[in-house]
């Protein structure tokens, strides 16, 4: 059981002063194995904070990020080959401002094919999305601080926690709505050729 936190678009300090306190109390160091960050943190303090939660941190560059050395996209593999079964998930990360039209699922699917990954994690729109298509799953964890977005008027703070177990991934999405944290969950399973949603 591998826990992967997908989070991004915090825009601290340009659009938000800090993570919501309810989220902060939930994110405890030592429980998460990997952190995937779509970008637009924007400052080093946030980077350091994530590092304290989990040392295995993968970040891609958002257009407002202070540190311009983050890569444009990144892939990582979770799981190992086991005899007879492939228990591996390939994840790809990309902020999304480079993919035009913004938020367009077909264009994002193209990026997924290009990176050759099962799960593509992307941001920029500040809208939570979990979408399954023939080639895999596209997940947008939204904005962890509910930052202003030209894309949408209704931004609730949200982030995603993925529980990867062999060929199955359970996506938990945490949203802060009217001061309360609401959790939803979606199941995805990877078959030999392509994932399917349950």
């Amino acid at each position: 059981m591998v826990l992967v936190l997908a989070i991004g678009d915090l825009h601290i300090p340009h659009r938000a002063p800090d993570l919501p306190p309810k989220f902060k109390s939930m994110l405890v160091p030592g429980k998460i194995q990997h952190i995937i960050c779509t970008g637009n943190l924007c400052i080093k303090e946030v980077h350091d904070y994530f590092k304290t939660l989990c040392p295995d941190l993968h970040i891609t560059r958002g257009e407002y990020d202070e540190d311009s050395r983050y890569p444009e996209n990144k892939t990582l593999t979770i799981g190992q080959f086991k005899l007879g079964t492939i228990g591996q998930f390939k994840l790809g990360i990309c902020h999304g401002h480079q993919v035009i039209p913004w938020g367009d699922l077909d264009s994002l699917a193209m990026v997924q094919r290009q990176l050759d990954v099962d799960i593509l994690v992307t941001g920029h729109t500040h809208q939570f999305k979990a979408y399954k298509h023939e080639g895999g799953v596209v997940i947008n964890p939204g904005s962890a601080t509910g930052a202003y977005s030209s894309f949408t008027y209704d931004v609730n703070p949200s982030f995603v926690l993925m529980d990867i177990d062999g060929l199955r991934v359970v996506v938990y999405v945490y949203e802060l709505i009217d001061g309360e944290v609401k959790v939803d969950k979606i199941d995805f399973k990877k078959t030999a050729t392509a994932p399917s949603a349950h």
Partner: protein, 658 residues
């Protein structure tokens, strides 16, 4: 008998022994030794006498021996002081002593001895002892007498420390339970202490400033604990401090400045609300006396207090007052040398100011606009190093306000002066412009595009066009770094693609420019990608009049030509053709528009592209690129999948051979 021993040290030890031995034999109330002849009064008398004699002996030690051994003697004395103090301890433990007896007998006698001995070391130690040993309620009730003794002490005694300790004890006593507070009011503790301090300071004009501030600091803590609702008392204390500080230059003493920071932090901690602290009129005046370094420290403390308590600052006046207080962070104070400020520290400071700006909010749009203008006024004085930090949060606060106003209907009978999105955009335009002069062109470009999108949502075509113009000018004139150009172009295309407010002419001009920039990027792959991204400018799903199939195809063909050129260049420069990735990307775009129903994208075109890629991949000069292979394979899989979907999509894909 003990009187017989007049040698100081021996006498002290003898009497000390006496005290120890007699301790449990004192005729206290309830003790077995109480009888008709011996009562508590006698016990008290006994101990007091012992105390008096011991003190006299102790003081005498000071004057024995040659002058050059003074230091040695004083050291000896301080080692022996507990012997004397023990008497007081014993007194405090006699149960029979109640408040009245304390007031009438014990305290006056003890104080008499303390004052009359005229010895600096004894006085300091014994006053402190009295305060520590006897209960706080007694002190409250005898405050007059106690405080009255202070001016009578030797001028070299460190009164401020003793007084501070007294106030500390009383503060803690007040904090321990709310029931005791009325007592404080009854004895008018505050005014007595205030006066006492005033007298002490007056009597010692040479007291170093650290002493003065320590005294007022303790008094302030006391006031905050005992009279938390009396802001005027707190203000009074600060005012007295200001009076004492005025006439002197800025403080140089590190300890003194530390004390002032403690003094100023106390109200923040207590009230947990900067708004209350802002009501203390003398608060900013005290801050004037800090040097610029400490000013910044204090400003940071204030900001942290706000963030911790999530205080909402919701009127322009309060914002004005707050920014006056923290001006050390907002701009270079006049006499500040441009010292080497540590870059990381500077960034942290400015980031905390940026976060602060997020907390300034009012639900009333008019008030919010005033707040925005107030903040703007202050940060524009910050200089080029600060603006990149402070302008973005202000811009986003303003954009949030625009959204809020959009929700409300525009009142045609509204006053001239009322806030409208248009007005806010004007302010925004001028604000973001300041960034272009710094220079921070990439940031300015991003912000202009954000404003353009907001203007688009408000249906303000000329305003949106103006913002785009500004962004384009920045791109042409200021952004020369290749990587920055690529990001900027993506943002421009992405934003423009979402605009629905532009009429045909305006849109054409902007699109034409955007495609022009794309084709002129330095690296061929970047060019190719930007150009095919531009194809989306001619086809927007939810806008029926933007579905120009031909222009889309033109873009894609141009992208193909660039990809070809890239291949040839690679051949020429490296001896092998580059990877086919770009071709596969363009193929995917063909499929995208094919599915959307662009009649210009034909099956034949797609087929020939597939063949082109296949040929390229198998040619001798091609580079081995597993990523490109995988990409092509998954694209083919996708097409197969679409075929098998059936329905309209399946029919479309049917003729394509993969």
């Amino acid at each position: 008998m003990c009187r017989g021993i007049q040698h100081p040290v021996r006498g002290l030890f003898l009497r000390s022994y006496l005290a120890q031995v007699s301790r449990d034999k004192l005729p206290d109330i309830g003790s077995e030794y109480e009888g008709d002849a011996d009562t508590v009064v006698d016990a008290v008398e006994f101990v007091l006498q012992n105390f008096t004699e011991m003190n006299k002996l102790w003081v005498r030690m000071q004057h024995q021996g040659p002058a050059r051994e003074k230091e040695k003697r004083e050291k000896e004395r301080s080692e022996l002081r507990d012997l004397v103090g023990k008497n007081l301890h014993v007194l405090s433990q006699i149960e029979g002593i109640d408040l009245d007896m304390y007031k009438e007998t014990v305290l006056p006698r003890v104080l008499e001895q303390v004052v009359n001995c005229k010895d600096e070391i004894a006085q300091y130690y014994l006053m402190d002892c009295i305060i520590q040993v006897f209960p706080d309620e007694y002190h409250l009730q005898t405050l007059d007498v106690l405080l009255g003794a202070f001016p009578q002490l030797q001028p070299t005694v460190d009164i401020k420390t003793v007084l501070s300790r007294l106030m500390e004890r009383l503060s803690n006593y007040a904090a321990s339970s709310a029931d005791v507070l009325p007592e404080f009011l009854q004895v008018e503790a505050f005014s007595k202490l205030n006066n006492a301090i005033g007298k002490v300071i007056e009597a010692q004009p040479d007291m170093p400033i650290l002493g003065v501030i320590t005294l007022y600091s303790s008094l302030l803590t006391f006031t905050l604990h005992v009279h938390p609702d009396r802001l005027d008392y707190a203000d009074q204390v600060l005012g007295a401090c200001v009076k004492k500080l005025s006439g002197k230059e800025k403080l140089e003493d590190k300890k003194a400045t530390k004390q002032i920071v403690a003094l100023l932090s106390a109200p923040l901690d207590k009230y947990n609300d900067i708004v209350t602290a802002l009501k203390l009129s003398n608060y900013p005046r005290v801050m004037e006396y800090l040097d610029s370094e400490t000013n910044k420290v204090m400003a940071t403390v204030i900001i942290q207090s706000i963030m911790k308590n999530k205080t909402r600052i919701s009127t322009a006046d309060r914002v004005e007052a707050l920014f006056e207080l923290i001006k050390g962070l907002i701009k270079d104070l006049d006499d500040a040398f441009h010292d080497e400020v540590d870059e990381d520290d500077f960034k942290e400071e400015q980031n905390s100011v940026a976060r602060l700006i997020q907390l300034l909010h009012s639900d009333d749009p008019e008030e919010m606009f005033k707040i925005i203008c107030t903040v703007r006024k202050h940060i524009l004085g910050g200089g080029p190093k600060r603006l990149p930090f402070t302008v973005p949060p202000l811009v986003f606060s303003s954009l949030k306000l625009v959204r809020q106003l959009q929700g409300q209907e525009e009142n045609p009978f509204g006053e001239e002066e009322s806030t409208t999105p248009k007005k806010i955009f004007q302010v925004l335009n001028q604000t973001v412009e300041t960034l272009s002069n710094i220079p921070a062109p990439e940031l300015a470009l991003q912000l202009f595009l954000q404003c353009a999108e907001a203007a688009n949502d408000c249906d303000l075509e000329p305003v949106a066009y103006e913002f785009f113009t500004q962004a384009y000018i920045l791109y042409e004139e200021e952004i020369s770094d290749s990587r920055a150009q690529v990001t900027a172009i993506h943002l421009i295309i992405g934003t423009l693609q979402r605009m629905h407010v532009f009429g045909v002419e305006n849109r054409d001009t902007l699109t034409h420019k955007a495609t022009g920039y794309s084709a002129k990027l330095l690296k061929k792959p970047d060019q190719c990608r930007a150009v095919y991204a531009c194809s989306h400018l001619f086809w927007v799903d939810d806008q029926d009049n933007v579905k120009d199939g031909e222009r889309v195809l033109l873009c894609l063909k141009r992208a193909l030509r660039i990809a070809n050129a890239a291949q040839q260049m690679s051949n020429a420069a490296r001896g092998s053709a580059g990877s086919v990735t770009l071709f596969v990307e363009i193929l995917n775009k063909y499929l995208y528009f094919f599915e959307k129903g662009n009649p210009q994208i034909t099956v034949a075109a797609i087929q020939s592209l597939i063949e082109l890629i296949t040929t390229e991949m198998h040619s001798d000069s091609s580079t081995l690129d597993p990523a490109a292979d995988a990409f092509f394979a998954s694209t083919l899989r996708y097409m197969e999948f679409q075929k098998q979907k059936g329905g309209a999509i399946g029919e479309k894909y049917e003729p394509i051979k993969v």
